[in-house]
Symmetry: C2
Subunit: 374 residues, 2 copies
């Protein structure tokens, strides 16, 4: 018996029936059947993204779509503001440099979130800035940046600046209003809230972004947004089985109702946060996302993680400077209340085994109280 609850913020578990759906025979990508499925999937993604903009699908991990947004939008020597408040924010800076752009970096301590005024001031100091690159949910810290406020400020004060949001651990988990918040490019990946194996990335692209892309000449080929927009069934061979899985998952999420999907994630996240507090633990994120909860640990977190794993629950360690200082418990995707109770229980047992003084059961009890209140 080796049953493992995978509770990492990506990859996340795939529902068994979706796995079996993807285990069916291969559909050729140039048939009208696949083209219809691909087009329908792109349309369903618009609903998930809460956008009227077109959505494209790449065969790549999420970083591929991040690269596409940089290499398609920016010309060499163009400036972009990047928000670095974690490992994935740092990646925006690396990407802008890799494509010879000039990153204007706003750094925040890990656990903190971007302030709308800082961005405003940075644009005022750098009026030639072409775009702002940010995460919605920074997966390395569990922080939710105020995308709504930043988007509203940009629309009002700097309508020519493009707004690019990595929603890899936010889309399909939290209520992200792509169009209402003025997001020009919104990005996500398959292995998070979309409950699929890794291998697909997706992005939506506004008319404003398309205009800039048409003018920009930067080196890229595989990640060509305009080519994908015009390609019936994908510019290059799509990851056909994952696309079929995506189609199924989207139907399922829309049947649950996006509002209910968001409420489910909010409930699991809230219960986990309250349980951690009840156990006397501190949360890392000053403005927590509902996709995952990062909990500061009183001792080397790898010891806690190993014990939790031996009890059948696999959560993530911190990354970079947060390594061995936090655990990260996922809520995004194919999770419900029992998974959350299992994770908190495994955490409590690990703490007791490691001699940390807690009241055994107080975390699980607090989570159940939250669930019962709903």
């Amino acid at each position: 018996m080796k049953k493992l609850f995978l509770m990492t913020p990506g990859p996340t578990p795939v529902p068994e029936e979706i796995m079996l759906k993807m285990a069916t025979p291969i559909m050729h990508h140039r048939t009208k059947e696949f083209k219809a499925l691909f087009g329908e999937t792109r349309n369903l993604l618009k609903k998930l993204f809460q956008t009227q903009n077109d959505v494209v699908i790449f065969a790549s991990s999420g970083t591929g779509a991040m690269e596409a947004s940089v290499s398609n939008l920016l010309e060499p020597q163009e400036k972009a503001i990047i928000i670095n408040a974690g490992k994935f924010g740092k990646r925006w800076g690396e990407l802008v440099k890799a494509f010879d752009g000039i990153p204007v970096e706003l750094s925040y301590p890990y656990g903190d979130y971007a302030k709308v005024d800082d961005i405003k001031k940075a644009i005022d100091r750098n009026p030639d800035v072409k775009a702002v690159f940010i995460q919605a949910s920074e997966t390395s810290t569990g922080v939710f940046h105020p995308i709504d406020e930043i988007g509203t400020m940009l629309k009002e004060s700097y309508p020519e600046v493009l707004f690019v949001v990595d929603g890899i651990t936010a889309i399909g988990c939290m209520d992200i209003k792509t169009d209402q918040w003025g997001v020009d490019i919104m990005i996500t990946g398959s292995q998070k809230a979309l409950m699929l194996p890794p291998g697909l990335s997706m992005l939506s692209v506004s008319e404003k972004a398309k205009k800039k892309i048409k003018k920009s000449k930067n080196r890229h080929y595989y990640f060509d947004i305009l080519k994908e927009l015009n390609a019936d069934g994908g510019a290059y061979t799509p990851a056909v089985k994952l696309v079929e899985g995506l189609h199924e998952v989207l139907l399922r999420l829309l049947e649950e109702g996006l509002e209910n999907v968001f409420k489910r994630h909010a409930l699991l996240a809230s219960a986990t946060r309250e349980a951690a507090k009840a156990l006397g633990l501190k949360l890392l994120a000053k403005r927590p996302a509902d996709s995952l909860t990062a909990i500061l640990t009183p001792i080397d977190s790898s010891k806690i993680i190993n014990l939790m794993k031996s009890n059948g629950v696999f959560v993530s360690n911190g990354q970079g400077e947060l390594k061995n200082r936090i655990i990260r418990i996922a809520h995004l995707g194919y999770f419900d209340k029992p998974d959350t109770l299992a994770a908190i229980g495994a955490l409590e047992m690990a703490l007791v085994k490691l001699g940390i003084s807690i009241e055994l059961g107080s975390g699980v009890k607090r989570a159940m109280e939250i669930f019962l209140e709903q």
Copy 2:
């Protein structure tokens, strides 16, 4: 009843047991279990590639690995010879241009193959050429370029020129000797002879190529060969289920024995070619690959393809200027004698229905004779 024999040169059918193997729960890519599997898979790929060089795996379709070889090797304004004898050869030119290199294009009529002397002369005219980019098997025409002769010539006369081969429809199908033929970068994809769904590309990289990559500064990020070489379990989230499938498939091919795998493909290809001739049809390729057979059709090939499909066998049309002029029947991957007989039979029935005068059964009979001779 809607049973369809998928006999296109990619995607190709996936064995049922491999599909089910990939339908198992997700393994996290940062666990020691996955890292071990990933490392073992990379080692098995070296056997398949017949190389001592390291192999990296990208989450992308085959074009991603083609891009990686161009963007990692070439600097802007550097020259490369590209062999354009079909749709995929043309892609090399597009890629070199996209990354600001200068393609020195050698064009051949579709159906023809690259001549070693032409390449020699082209290098003599352009002594600053840094690399030669070519297909092993050009999937759009079914031609097998003389990679052995070209590689030998380059090693002897121009040891500083890099040799990059797109083996997407050759590796795992034909006897491609990466090291012996001096191939610096050899490329393949998952959805061809490797019998997997699309979504993975792979390449091997020589020490000579690594040295050039280290000196080159071109814009790239996701497709970073050196970063992948040093990343334990992948630089970015790998397509974990496809990697698990790849591991299984490689064990299976190595158990069959590469020599037997190549013989099987050669036999199916030879039977198909002889059957086509017995039916009075002409072959497109002057130097045919064993991965697929391109047959010139006396009438609009789309009519033949539609009728074949209605009889349960799906083959490919031509691409670009070959559209509606040929059919392409695949041999690469999860195919054996019965599939080949089925394809030839469906072709014969379609020809008869369309009023083309053939001796019904003569193609299938000729193929069976070839099989019986073995």
